[in-house]
Symmetry: C5
Subunit: 89 residues, 5 copies
Amino acid sequence: MLIGKVSGSLWATRKNEKLNGLKFLLVDIEEDETAGRVQTLVAADNAGAGFDDTVLVTTGSSARMALDAPDIPVDAVIVGIIDSVERAN
Amino acid sequence: MLIGKVSGSLWATRKNEKLNGLKFLLVDIEEDETAGRVQTLVAADNAGAGFDDTVLVTTGSSARMALDAPDIPVDAVIVGIIDSVERAN
Amino acid sequence: MLIGKVSGSLWATRKNEKLNGLKFLLVDIEEDETAGRVQTLVAADNAGAGFDDTVLVTTGSSARMALDAPDIPVDAVIVGIIDSVERAN
Amino acid sequence: MLIGKVSGSLWATRKNEKLNGLKFLLVDIEEDETAGRVQTLVAADNAGAGFDDTVLVTTGSSARMALDAPDIPVDAVIVGIIDSVERAN
Amino acid sequence: MLIGKVSGSLWATRKNEKLNGLKFLLVDIEEDETAGRVQTLVAADNAGAGFDDTVLVTTGSSARMALDAPDIPVDAVIVGIIDSVERAN
């Protein structure tokens, strides 16, 4: 999974009907939880995330396992909100 | 999912027969919705997209979930047309 | 899907038996259809491609959907031969 | 699979309920087992790993095969603890 | 698929039990069969590969299709030993 920060949202009225009801957030994926933004993904929210939350993002087919049905065409889902990261050194 | 802009189309007469009837568009994937082009993918259109539209692209096995049959050999599908992106800061 | 150009072939006598009968081609994946070579993949040919053809390559589990059986261990397949690419600007 | 070193852990109270009971570790993926950190992933631990362990990480849908149920939304799992790496040159 | 060269092996006594009996090799993936090392993966051997062999590596869920059971948590398998590569120009 990847660590990212929620940086925005997007609006799309014309979309695949299986996507109706999902909230799509912009997530700035961080290569390292101390680094800056390296890539922006759009992830469906499965954890009640909000702006500036640090989140855990699952990608690929595994992302679909977080949703109610396994045939929803999403490849990135926010599966958790990270409270803290402990780095050992 | 990735954000991209439709920049062209392609024509292929000799192709896997499961691809018949699909429209294939060039999508310039953007690392960030404010950045320039970083990579060009070919995506099957599932949202009625046109040139210059900003689109939402699902990749991998999840892309197939947007089509009528899950065994069509595509790995990128345009699943929505983005009306607006709100970035929080 | 990715756009690439067929640049060679390879020979492997010792291989997984499910791969027997497949033709494996080197494909120089192009980040952009106007750019030079960025990465070389080996793809199974499903479209009758030849040297210098510009081809459409499907990757991942979707690649297997182009073949006769979904359990063949390939992760990249040439699914079409591109006749022309139209870029809008 | 990728080689990485466990560098930390993370805490997330609000998360997808299928993730309950899993331990999530930060793993610094190494491009080369002699190189420094190149990317940090979050992986579910399936091997009893601890800080500073060098671990084997499986990603994508294959990661789910290491867990008790194949529908847990994780895309990276620590499947082994590496005792030693022998490089031929 | 990717072209790589076997550069070493690894030993892991504590690992997911489904991995028992597999041989894990270090493979230096080459972006181009004439280029130097660009990334090191760990791949399960399915072709009887040895040090310095140039090999064909299948990644992702397709890698599992090369093994006896499709639920073994590996994401990279050596599916063939490359005898020769012919590049057209």
